[in-house]
Symmetry: C2
Subunit: 149 residues, 2 copies
């Protein structure tokens, strides 16, 4: 069941809940792993395919959905002697998904740990200081975790 045609033609804004709307665009494993690889610098179909081991037909469909959703943009490139191909690059909307990926990463490192310890820590560009996600109020003051509202 592919939703690529639907999301390309019309963003799925029919749900009042923003979580539901986000997941209609992103809610299966491959989409978020493609976005993870894009953050790591992967741009080419073969790069995503080799990194993820995802079947080519699924990768084609997911890339089309993410381009249609405005998360990735497609650019043309041509290697010497080869036909023109597409590369895929995060848009501003795609870059804004960093919060989602870091939230998943922090949760996975705490609750589904790797036997060898965390592999990737999120660090501040330039200083390489470790950074983490926290809740803050409108004055920027950190708010401790609470039970669900």
């Amino acid at each position: 069941m592919s939703t690529s045609a639907k999301t390309t033609d019309r963003p799925p804004t029919e749900h009042a809940c923003a979580i539901h709307r986000s997941l209609d665009l992103l809610g299966e494993k491959w989409s978020l792993l493609i976005i993870r690889d894009a953050f790591r610098g992967t741009t080419r179909f073969s790069g995503f395919r080799d990194s993820l081991g995802v079947p080519s037909d699924i990768l084609t469909a997911r890339l089309a959905t993410l381009v249609g959703a405005g998360v990735l943009e497609r650019r043309a490139y041509r290697e010497p002697g080869a036909r023109e191909r597409s590369s895929y690059h995060l848009t501003a909307r795609g870059l804004a998904l960093k919060t989602v990926l870091v939230a998943l990463q922090e949760w996975g490192d705490e609750f589904v740990p790797n036997p060898g310890g965390p592999v990737t820590l999120v660090r501040r560009a330039g200083t390489h200081e470790h950074v983490a996600l926290v809740f803050v109020d409108d004055a920027g003051t950190p708010v401790p975790p609470a039970a669900p509202a």
Copy 2:
């Protein structure tokens, strides 16, 4: 293709990447929407089914996966005159997914907006002040968004 038996028997820790491990447990739309409903207070099979419109067989499989993953716990209850049934409750590991849901919610409200505006804002328990997710360094100082590392 169900992974519920696998995740019940053995957490999928084979991937070095914490994002991949998290998505092996959570990476499709229904699982995260079930967790969203659990945060809103839904506990019964019929409540999840009626809220989400998810087919019963998929809901049964996803609830089993989330219980096996330690995100939800199953408790027994019995209405007068009815057979014993199960209810589903977030564990500590499930409550820790709030960051992931809020990251998805903030992204959806910004990039896949609802025509009527945001429906749910995240507020601090007690004061009802608005809260948001930000990156901070180890001293708790907010770090501005940066390009991907």
